[in-house]
């Protein structure tokens, strides 16, 4: 089924007939998905439905069997553009940062993305807001699950990508952090940036999202029906 966004805004994400399987196991079957700029979309689905695989394919961390994906009008083959304008927050994507301290990681991000050095003070303020300022010189591998996620959030705030993809973002975060994240996503929308969230717990994030989708039976469906947008899946 095709899920077409309102035509008024230019598309940030365009997925056509995306299929992905591992051996004989089909995970994604000819998926069509579109997401406009300046939007917050939520993708729900049961454990093992294929949400994370979809995100990995979307950001070219996984190869696809067939189909076409464009981010901000550019194909995935334009790797440098893709990496410069997207960011993924996921517990599966933390291997890189484990051997650095948050301070070193932010310094690296600042250099690689050519972010002005004035961002150093901003990151300290944000770290204070998220209650991780005391952890900036600790090896990330030694931090708790939730704190690691907060570090990834801070790095994404620094990069301010056109498309921010968050896989199970609320998992492991405290109530204050969840509220902070909600405000952040709304702020991003006001700035004309897009955010795509996934969750297997319905109700999380849908209150700020324009649209909610459900990944089931290898397909993405709109989840506008009331019984699908609230309660556990």
């Amino acid at each position: 089924m095709s899920t077409t966004a309102q035509a008024v805004q230019p598309l940030l994400v365009s997925v056509q007939r995306l299929s992905k399987s591992y051996g004989k196991k089909l995970v994604l079957d000819a998926i069509d998905f579109e997401m406009p700029q300046a939007s917050i979309y939520v993708l729900t689905g049961a454990n093992g439905a294929g949400k994370s695989v979809f995100l990995q394919c979307l950001l070219h961390y996984e190869t696809i069997d067939s189909g076409r994906i464009e981010i901000d009008g550019r194909p995935l083959s334009d790797r440098l553009y893709l990496r410069r304008n997207t960011s993924l927050i996921s517990s599966d994507q933390q291997q890189f940062i484990d051997l650095l301290t948050p301070g070193e990681y932010f310094a690296f991000i600042t250099d690689i993305y050519n972010i002005p050095s004035s961002a150093t003070q901003r990151i300290r303020d944000w770290a204070e807001d998220l209650n991780v300022s005391k952890e900036l010189d600790t090896l990330i591998a030694n931090l708790s699950f939730g704190t690691k996620k907060k570090i990834q959030v801070l790095a994404s705030m620094l990069i301010a990508p056109k498309l921010l993809v968050c896989d199970e973002i609320y998992e492991g975060l405290d109530t204050d952090a969840v509220a902070y994240m909600q405000r952040l996503f709304l702020q991003r929308k006001e700035q004309g940036l897009g955010t795509l969230l996934t969750t297997h717990i319905a109700g999380y994030g849908q209150d700020i999202a324009e649209r909610t989708f459900r990944l089931a039976n290898h397909q993405i469906h709109p989840a506008d029906e009331p019984e699908l947008s609230r309660g556990c899946l």
Binding site: Y61, R79, R83, F96, L99, L100, I112, Y113, L139
Partner: protein, 446 residues
Amino acid sequence: MNLSLFRRLLQIAYDDPQGSILKQAVIHFIIFAITFSLVVAGFRSMGIERVMEIYVWVHFVIHLIFIFFTAAILHSMDKMIGFMSHTPVTAPEVFYKVYAAASFTLSNGVEYALILIIFFSFGAGLWDVLTFIFILEAMRFTRVFLEFVLAWFKTLTNVRLYLSAAFFFGLLAFLISVKQGRFSWEMLDMNMLLQYSVLCLFAIGMITGPYLVNRLLIIQKRSPELYLSLTRRIGRASGASAAAWGLQALYSMQLMRMLRDSAYIGRYVRLCIIVVILTLVNVMFLQQYEETPARTLVDLSYMVCMVSYITYQLDYGLVKHSHLAQFPIRMRHVQGAIDSLHGMLLLMFALLMGLVEILSNPATSSQWMDGLSAFGIFYLLSIGIPVPDSKISSYQKLGLYFQFFFLSLPVKIAFQYNVLNDWYIQLAVLLAAGLLLYVRKYRRLK
């Protein structure tokens, strides 16, 4: 708390309420004591001193096996420490009573009774027998102490790395003494070495054992701040050299991560150990003292690059482990950073080994240049063979290894037969290896 009550606690801690492990140990030692007394009776002609020496060595092997089983398979000490930390037993009490529980057993009583009967019947002196029994008990005490030490090691991060590094430096020191002719097998009295080691560890255990157990009972995860700061400084200093290309952040961060990655450094230490052992075998058994320093340095470069190729290129996947593809950095730059940093770390080791080599056989500057050129050529050849990103089978690995072998062997032979003596020929071969690397690997990277 008396010993029998402590023993009951130990049985609960080991999750061994029926005492099956202890029963097995008792049976084992009785069988051992009877068998060995028969052996002693049979080898009366060996002399009492020789029998004592053999007896000590047999005990040594049994204790080693015991340590292996308790530390690596049963994890008895970890279980015991975890249990005892919730009981009102003091650290010295735990330390000494664990030893006492191991020592005051029926099997030991039977064994010592047999020793006294047999040795006195062979006419051994009282002082000799008492010293002998003391050595056996010191060995048991040392075993218990080492079990605590191993349990403490497990609480440290990167313990295998520290042990491997210590082993490497020990080997290197041994290699230096062999190279300088200070060592010969005749000099080693293994019996004395064993006895002195046991006595030293016994003394260390007596002093430090209770403190070690105290630390284990209240252990907390250590934060390696010093290592973090050291690697940060090294990374920044090395990254400065790449500033001209705007790649300072990439180089400094990647070096920092390589130095902190126990998987990478562990392989590096393993590589060093393999090369030192190969060199030792070469020096001690293949009699290559007459070799020229140039040839030795070329051989060394070949060995370092070959082991690195097998350890890192075929087995590890340096680029894949860098996780740098998630950043907006050209893969060509990523590959270049990893290849040059890894090469730099290998070169440091090759230079260290070169220094050890020339301790016994000083080399001229041109011989050093030959060694460096050889290193450059072999390294470029080793990184120039494209290895698939996906998991490769042993069969594919063998094929890839032979690729390196067929590319590098002619160069090694050419050095051996002085074909590559002149600097301009070496430069030409180096450029050819660089070109091959570019064509086969870098050209397709974006």
